[in-house]
Symmetry: C2
Subunit: 339 residues, 2 copies
DNA sequence: GAAACGAATGAAATCGTTTTCATGTTTATA
DNA sequence: TATAAACATGAAAACGATTTCATTCGTTTC
């Protein structure tokens, strides 16, 4: 492998001058610049990134923390983040915490060992006080997930509003017995949606019924299970709010398989506006999350923090959520367009 | 940030000894070892990975090339690859080529600049002769996608067989007018499936009808479009082979929306055995691909190549495909179990 | 009791860049 | 025309680790 020294030798110039050419610094004569470029071409020279990283104290790599990538919401987030990072000349390392606090802390060492320039947390498995000490090693940006205690930039969506509009929509259809599904107790995203859910209920003078709450629903299979659990209740709900389209699809699938009709017997609202919402029959009413914009903003903010080196500032960037009404909640009437 | 020098100063020892402790080298007295570990703890010292990479000529990072991660097949591949890499102490950089040869070549420079120790290609956008020169900079392992010209380790599935069993299944149901769907002309995966498709037809003395071929179907929306195109044909097919469950789901969804019945009016077979195959009604007959095993093997082979430094050996590791019969091809009869 | 060996440690070179500082050469300015 | 300013270049230090080679000391071995 050719090094800068080889280029220097071949051209008869110093390493300094070669470096100047590489980095487009001024004060290199046009003649020498040509010479250097030719030599680099001839030797197939390309700068070694480890050496650059060491010298520049910067790797041009970001880490993105997610629980698991096969959740389509996170796939979409990763896709958008990778594209945004690439536009800024950054590479993206994927860290799947698999909902494990230990794995999360372990991946955090990427920041401490300077293997990455910054960490974007799209999910959080530890208390913030466990994570906070890592801030001394580099920037952390929260994206999607959030924590009020965290004194770092946060790009988020108004999940309280999301839970609210979805639930209000069900209430407006005349439902009073509404079940609640979410994925995980730890996530503030889930907690916020629950607050919005309760807020909507309260406006209709209804109280939250714990027997209608299912907080361990992540996948399609969980949706199927939840449906069976709901139907086993003495006072069955007539509608259900879910934290993901996958769970909603699972519920619908199981309901149809059991001979129920959607939304007549059970109205279902999903979350995320994934592709499957248009696939199932009936199609799924859901809440659209502007994932691309969120990811793009998170990367932009991250780059800025890397440059300014001020990591411990709590800035909140919030994007709007939007209810998409489809057939799983409103029967055969005409649906609202998707905007 | 504390460096090894700081630890040396605090303990009154040399950098050499500290390094020995870090790397578990012999010839360090237990007394000094304790001393060093305490000092490292006290200073919060952790080795700088750029410095290590430079000195050791090794980054402990792998790059995984995929077209886009939101394709569930690739999500699954990334998930499994990341887990396998982590088990070996490697990080994973995601490279989405977005079907662009230029982007692919650009990402290839990660190998040349030594930012990664190896590249796993799960999709190929260039001719092998474009890629081959990068072999001098580090190992390339093919995983899922393949190329007969490529003199590198290849972990693959028998796609000819996959196309064959899926098609044969349709033929066995009595179909003679079978349409063919795939994603992309460039992929050898798609080409192989087509060979298997034709082979099955040939066994039944049928010939391939180009009017039944749709080679630009990737997403759900493409499936919907393809269905409409098929129905516009003068001599409509009664069955269709697709290269992905998403496309199959799109076809089924559109068919149902247009008032057709599956499989009575159209039998549909998908590929990948994604979660949606169990969601749609009818459920989708498909071909299961052992993605986890494939990813695991690819990482294992990669690690071995990194160690042995012999990159240009063509070794082929092949995993079996399996037909999963569901309702989209066999009506209401009892289905074969999933094994 | 000298030679040989193994254990424990450190000085300095090395990995491949970038940057600081110094120096020499032009060109512009008063 | 002296002099400041701009341009062009290079030597050497720095980034933070690991490794090679010496060196010292204690223990066997014959």
């Amino acid at each position: 492998m050719a090094t800068i020294e080889d280029v220097a030798k071949l051209t008869g110039l110093s390493r300094t001058t070669i470096s100047r050419v590489i980095n487009n610094h001024p004060y290199v004569s046009e003649e020498k610049r040509k010479l250097v470029l030719e030599a680099m071409e001839k030797l197939g020279y390309v700068p070694n990134s480890s050496a650059r990283s060491l010298r520049n104290q910067k790797t041009s790599i970001l880490a993105l923390f997610i629980p698991r990538i096969t959740n389509p919401f996170f796939s979409e987030l990763v896709e958008a983040t990778e594209i945004a990072a690439a536009e800024h000349g950054y590479q993206l390392i994927i860290c799947q915490t698999r909902y494990s606090p230990e794995k999360e802390l372990n991946y955090m060492n990427l920041l401490k060992t300077k293997q990455v320039d910054g960490v974007i947390l799209a999910s959080i498995q530890n208390e913030w006080k466990q994570l906070k000490p890592f801030l001394q090693y580099g920037p952390i940006v929260l994206c999607n997930e959030f924590d009020d205690c965290a004194n770092v930039p946060t790009v988020r969506l108004d999940q309280v509003y999301g839970g609210y509009i979805a639930t209000k929509h069900l209430l407006e259809q005349g439902h009073t017995k509404i079940a609640y599904c979410s994925g995980g107790y730890r996530s503030n995203v889930a907690k916020s949606r629950e607050i919005g859910f309760k807020k909507a209920l309260a406006e209709y003078k209804l109280t939250f019924d714990e027997r209608y709450a299912f907080r361990d629903a992540f996948h399609i299979a969980d949706g199927k299970r939840v449906f069976r659990q709901m139907m086993a209740l003495s006072n069955r709900p007539t509608a259900v709010f879910t934290g993901s389209d996958e769970v909603a699809a699972g519920i619908i699938s199981e309901a149809l398989a059991c001979g129920y009709r959607i939304p007549e017997h059970l109205a279902v609202v999903g979350f995320d506006n994934q592709a499957i919402t248009e696939l199932t029959n009936p199609t799924i009413t859901t809440v659209h999350q502007p994932v691309k914009q969120m990811a793009q903003k998170a990367v932009d903010v991250m780059i800025e923090k890397i440059q300014t080196k001020k990591y411990d500032v709590q800035e909140i960037y919030e994007f709007p959520l939007q209810l998409i009404v489809r057939a799983s909640t409103v029967g055969s009437e005409l649906h609202q367009s998707e905007a």
